[in-house]
């Protein structure tokens, strides 16, 4: 009697152990090994690229650091995840609001949130990965890690393969090796996204070139009209955060007309929010579609 009870108990313990060992995942994040032994249900993400990764495999976060502006989240991502609670800005997310959501996983950005990493850990297990200033390749790696942690490894692998096919198909529609320069324009400054930037990586992944390179590997470079003339790209893609932006002002200057992209009318406008703030599989596909549309017209 006692023995059979003991047997039953040990069987139960064994099966419980087995179950957790099946579910427990360990990945390498920016701070070292990260383990989770359950499938997270209430996830808070502190950058748009993480929301993109979750939406790519149909996982819905409860909170997003969306700069208190829901329109900043990529429309395609919004379509998948519906509504969410804003947890403040990406640069200063509100720890109180995050805690009030009672999350079981937080995904944070090593560039922006390393200083509050310990505070976040106290609220919930925090997976910290690169997002701001990450490259296209970094982002794919981060998405794969997120897939593992949220228990959607297979789906994420499939989604990334599908993404690769999509990008290859788009690349076929675009002129190989054309030099395409993306930049965001504010009222008083133009920032070129160099070959180390996310947008630069997307352009390269589409078989084209990004002329602005940087000696100190920074992703965004403030550029004067003179420097833009020195780079003189074949195609210029601009996201204007405001109108009139500095690019609008430059258009009245004689020097502007000496740019080859201007004299051949190869200067195009895109949504600065998508191209500069959003990163991720879905964002990259949005950007590729933009480029295909632009080049089909030109």
């Amino acid at each position: 009697m006692l023995i059979s009870a003991f047997k039953r108990l040990s069987l139960l313990v064994c099966s419980a152990l087995l179950a957790t060992s099946v579910q427990a995942v360990t990945v390498q994040d920016s701070k070292g090994p990260f383990s989770l032994d359950y499938e997270p249900k209430r996830i808070v993400v502190l950058e748009f690229s993480f929301a993109d990764a979750l939406a790519s495999v149909g996982v819905v976060p409860v909170g997003i650091a969306d700069d208190k502006d829901k329109n900043r989240v990529l429309p395609a991502v919004r379509d998948v995840i519906g509504d969410w609670q804003s947890v403040g800005t990406r640069s200063q997310p509100s720890l109180e609001v995050i805690a009030s959501l009672n999350p079981d996983l937080i995904i944070a950005d090593i560039s922006r949130h390393e200083a509050v990493y310990d505070d976040l850990q106290k609220i919930a297990p925090t997976l910290i990965l690169p997002s701001r200033r990450e490259t296209y390749q970094d982002n794919l790696k981060a998405a794969a890690i997120i897939g593992k942690v949220v228990g959607k490894d297979t789906q994420m692998t499939e989604r990334l393969a599908q993404h690769q096919q999509f990008m290859d198909a788009m690349a076929a529609k675009l002129p190989a090796k054309a030099s395409v320069q993306f930049g965001v324009a504010r009222a008083d400054a133009l920032f070129l996204h160099t070959d180390d930037s996310y947008a630069g990586g997307v352009i390269q992944a589409l078989g084209m070139q990004t002329p602005a390179s940087d000696r100190d590997d920074s992703a965004y470079r403030q550029t004067s009209l003179e420097q833009l003339l020195a780079i003189n790209p074949e195609y210029i893609v601009v996201g204007n955060y405001v109108h009139p932006s500095i690019v609008d002002q430059w258009q009245n200057e004689p020097l502007w007309s000496l740019l080859q992209a201007v004299s051949h009318q190869r200067i195009f406008q895109v949504d600065p929010n998508v191209w500069s703030r959003c990163r991720g599989v879905m964002a990259a596909e949005h950007m590729a579609t933009d480029l295909a549309r632009i080049f089909a017209k030109s």
């Binding site: 800005t89 640069s91 200063q92 504010r186 009222a187 008083d188 400054a189 920032f191 470079r221 403030q222 004067s224 009209l225 003179e226 420097q227 003339l229 020195a230 955060y241 200057e253 004689p254 020097l255 000496l258």
Partner: protein, 333 residues
């Protein structure tokens, strides 16, 4: 008393130096190659389709002229401030004007409803003016015979710190605008165009002429306020005119190129070192020196992180800080 011949030869030497630095500024460290010959062609036989010549005419020339006038204005403003307060540490950057202007600028560029109402130049002047007024009140500089020079500098440091803290808070809250405001805070001539020049030079020239006209009063003020009053100077009137001139000169410079420090602080000392104590002589020399220094800093601003640009204000701080320490060590203050 400085010998007139020595003053004249020094003045000529300085002017020659200024011309050489200006010439160098037109072609040195260009991302698009610009040669001395291009500069010559641009002014003698201009070809509008040649990129190098267009750069000289459209970018370099307004940039150089603005640099010259900004340097002269800031040096004159510093000289007036030191003369008015009889304080060797007085300068727009020390007495809160730069920090106040920066706060005004940061506020309008991050708060859209203010931007529509004011524009950055006016905001910079308002901010600078308010900060200066506060510093003068706190430092009791208006009180007749109020001679507590240390108090004025302390008030300046306190108001500067307050404005800087508020500016940082604004920048943190509106991260998107941060890069633009930061560039502006450091002061850069890279975006100075003919448009900038056109709205800048009339104001600055009026301020500079006013500064020259004020020099006899400044000379008398150095004898002490009681003596100056006995010699027929209206103290309140002189101080008011001087303060308005400082605001005009600094406000115009700041709205043209951003906040540039150190020129107003160190150049008057350099000029006094060379030319003696007579404001009528050393103020013009300070203008020439200031113009040369800012132009030099602007040229170097293209060299330091070539092919990118470093704000000229940062270069000036690099040149200015050691020089200031040297001045303090030599006890020439």
């Amino acid at each position: 008393m400085t010998h007139p011949l020595r003053s004249l030869s020094l003045g000529l030497l300085l002017s020659l130096g200024l011309v050489l630095i200006s010439w160098w500024n037109l072609f040195a460290w260009s991302v698009v190659p610009v040669t001395e010959l291009d500069v010559w062609h641009a002014v003698s036989a201009f070809d509008s389709q040649a990129i190098a010549q267009r750069i000289v005419i459209d970018l370099r020339l307004p940039r150089l002229l603005t640099a010259l006038l900004v340097g002269a204005s800031l040096a004159a403003a510093g000289t007036i401030m030191q003369g008015l307060t009889r304080n060797p540490l007085a300068a727009p950057s020390v007495l809160g004007v730069n920090a106040g202007a920066a706060l005004g600028m940061a506020l309008v560029s991050t708060l859209p409803f203010l931007y529509g109402a004011l524009g950055t130049s006016i905001a910079a002047m308002l901010g600078g003016g308010l900060a200066w007024l506060l510093v003068m009140l706190l430092g009791s500089a208006w009180r007749m015979g109020g001679n507590e020079h240390g108090r004025l500098v302390l008030a300046g440091v306190a108001i500067s710190a307050l404005c800087a803290a508020l500016t940082k808070a604004v920048v943190i809250m509106e991260e998107d605008q941060a890069a633009g405001v930061m560039t502006w805070l450091a002061g850069s001539l890279a975006d100075a165009r003919w448009q900038t020049w056109q709205s800048f030079w009339p104001v600055a020239v009026v301020g500079l002429i006013g500064a020259v006209l004020l020099t006899p009063s400044l000379n008398l003020l150095q004898l002490g306020e009681d003596n100056a009053r006995n010699l027929g100077i209206n103290l309140l009137y002189s101080k008011l005119i001087g303060s308005v001139l400082v605001l005009v000169l600094v406000g115009a410079s700041i709205s043209a190129v951003g906040s540039i420090g150190f020129v107003g602080l160190i150049v008057p000392h350099m000029a006094r070192l060379l030319m003696g104590q007579d404001f009528r002589i050393f103020l013009p020399v300070a203008m020439v020196l200031g113009a040369a220094l800012v132009t030099l800093a602007d040229t170097l601003s293209r060299a330091v992180t070539y092919p990118m640009e470093t704000p000229a204000g940062a270069i000036l701080a690099l040149i200015g800080a050691p020089f200031f320490i040297y001045l303090v060590r030599k006890r020439t203050l």
